[in-house]
Amino acid sequence: MLSSYLPVLLMIVAGIAVAGGMLALKSLLGPRNATPEKQKPFECGRESTGSAHARFSIKFYLVALLFIAFDIEIVFLYPWAVVAKGLGVVGLVQMGVFLGVLVLGFIYVWKKGALEWD
């Protein structure tokens, strides 16, 4: 059973090897003559001011939170989806309750304005 994951391991190693190989090719073939001008961060020709790691909107944080809630929901939906036919009406009702709670939360989030972007 575990041996079916051996080819995946092979693929993972091959992926790293190809990616590393491309970087190695770059450092072998590419020229290297860095100047202070070249090494400035690009800001459309202006002198860069301050750190680029500035503050950003809290909206992005909200999206991440919402994503976690829904992604975990999906993780629970997958196993049910595979056996949904066998579980029949009982499984459907149970999943309906589970989904219903999340949909209620979704409506709350929507009405609260967490999905607005202005």
Binding site: S3, S4, Y5, L6, P7, V8, L10, M11, I12, A14, G15, I16, V18, A19, G20, M22, L23, K26, L29, G30, R32, N33, P36, K38, Q39, P41, F42, E43, S48, S51, A52, H53, A54, F56, S57, K59, F60, V63, A64, F67, F70, D71, I74, L77, Y78, A81, V82, A84, K85, G86, V89, L92, M95, G96, L99, V103, F106, E116, W117, D118
Partner: protein
């Protein structure tokens, strides 16, 4: 030992298909196609011995040029993360092909969790974009990274939910099992059971690849090149190829879920050699067709505004995909399995989902900016300016 040898050969074959054939050809095809759409000539100069071959040698010339380019980077970058980001982006796109069944035998690993594995690895691609933007220490890059992470996360929810409907229909998550379940007449294909899911999947997949009209993380005219602004030469190629490979990944997954994979309709699989090769050819043909459709959309539609993208993802696609899961589950459990009744009921259910979604969208038009025309926005802005 034998398993190791066969898997190594398969890995090489898949790399040859994806990296050696599909990606360069896609680069060429996209440039030619965009030229056709925009009424230009397109690339046709590169030649070997005076033989131009409609610009087919341009990918080779591109690779040679980009390999010999200087990789210059900002001095204030984070050295290790800056190098790791393109590797993550490229790696996460390539490794997912481990479970894609190109043919009855051409699949590197037939995992029980096939589709789940694809989602698990493909979502690591978000790290590539986010780390790239953060490590570059560039303001445009940071903006691009934020946009990329929020957008990709939002659309991943829809991407995952649309698949649930298909899984209910076929009762498996294994990629090969999904293909086998679609054998026989053409209406056994997923698209005839879940047409709405396919449309939602296609839109969400386009957003997941960050290509126009969802190219806000790159947005050349707004944030120059977004998260990979500070990348040049081979590192840039890795992002670029990762994007192409991801496009093929979602096309391949759509083929597996909705178009019967390597199954040729009405022709039963009898373990014959010709059928296995015909199946691989059919799989690649469908894959290329879906990728071509993605390219056409890319060169046809202009870029969304960011609030429009988030509205589309959270307020339209997500509720529609939840509705699709509910309707599919109810229909599958309420009707006898495999009958004509079930097929028709599924299509009716899909139509209901579409109608409800359209009605809700129409009702939201007043409050939702998706429906607001530029003209209306402009008057609103000028009114605000007056006050």
């Amino acid at each position: 030992m034998e398993l190791l040898l066969i898997s190594t050969l398969k890995v090489i074959l898949v790399f040859a298909i994806v990296l050696g054939a599909l990606s360069p050809l896609a680069g060429w095809a996209e440039r030619r196609q965009s030229a056709m759409i925009q009424d230009r000539v397109g690339p046709n100069r590169a030649s070997i011995g005076g033989f131009r071959a409609w610009g087919l040698f341009h990918p080779i010339a591109d690779v040679i040029k980009l390999m010999t380019k200087e990789d210059f980077v900002p001095a204030t970058r984070n050295r290790y993360l800056h190098t790791a980001a393109p590797m993550i982006a490229f790696w996460s796109a390539v490794v997912t092909f481990a479970v894609i069944p190109f043919g009855p035998w051409l699949q590197i690993a037939n995992l029980d969790i096939g589709v789940l594995f694809i989602f698990g690895i493909a979502s690591l691609g978000v790290y590539g974009a986010t780390i790239a933007g953060w490590a570059s220490n560039n303001k445009y890059s940071l903006l691009g990274a934020l946009r990329a992470s929020a957008m990709m996360l939002s659309y991943e929810v829809t991407l995952g939910l649309t698949v649930v409907g298909v899984l209910i229909c076929f009762s498996t998550v294994g990629a090969q099992e999904l293909v086998v379940a679609q054998a026989g007449p053409i209406w056994n294909w997923g698209i005839f059971k879940q047409p709405v899911a396919f449309v939602l999947f296609f839109v969400a997949a386009m957003a997941a690849t960050k290509r126009a009209p969802f190219d806000l993380p790159e947005g050349e005219s707004e944030i120059v090149a977004g998260y990979f602004l500070e990348y040049s030469g081979m590192k840039f190629v890795m992002f670029y190829m990762g994007e192409y490979i991801e496009m093929f990944l979602w096309s391949a997954l759509a083929t597996v879920l909705f178009f019967g994979g390597w199954q040729i309709p009405w022709v039963p699989f009898e373990g014959q050699t010709w059928y296995e090769f015909a199946g691989v050819a059919k799989f690649l043909a469908v894959l290329v067709a879906i990728a071509f459709l993605q390219m056409t959309v890319r060169w046809t539609l202009p870029r969304f505004r960011y609030d429009q993208v988030m509205d589309l993802g959270w307020k339209m696609l997500l509720p529609a995909s939840i509705g699709n899961v509910v309707v599919t589950a109810v229909v599958i459990i309420a009707t006898p399995a495999g009958g004509v009744l079930q097929r028709v009921a599924l299509l009716v259910g899909n139509a209901v989902v579409v109608l409800v979604a359209l009605a809700v969208a129409a009702a939201m038009k007043g409050e939702n900016k998706i429906g607001v025309t530029t003209e209306a926005l402009r008057t609103q802005r000028s009114e605000e300016a007056v006050h």
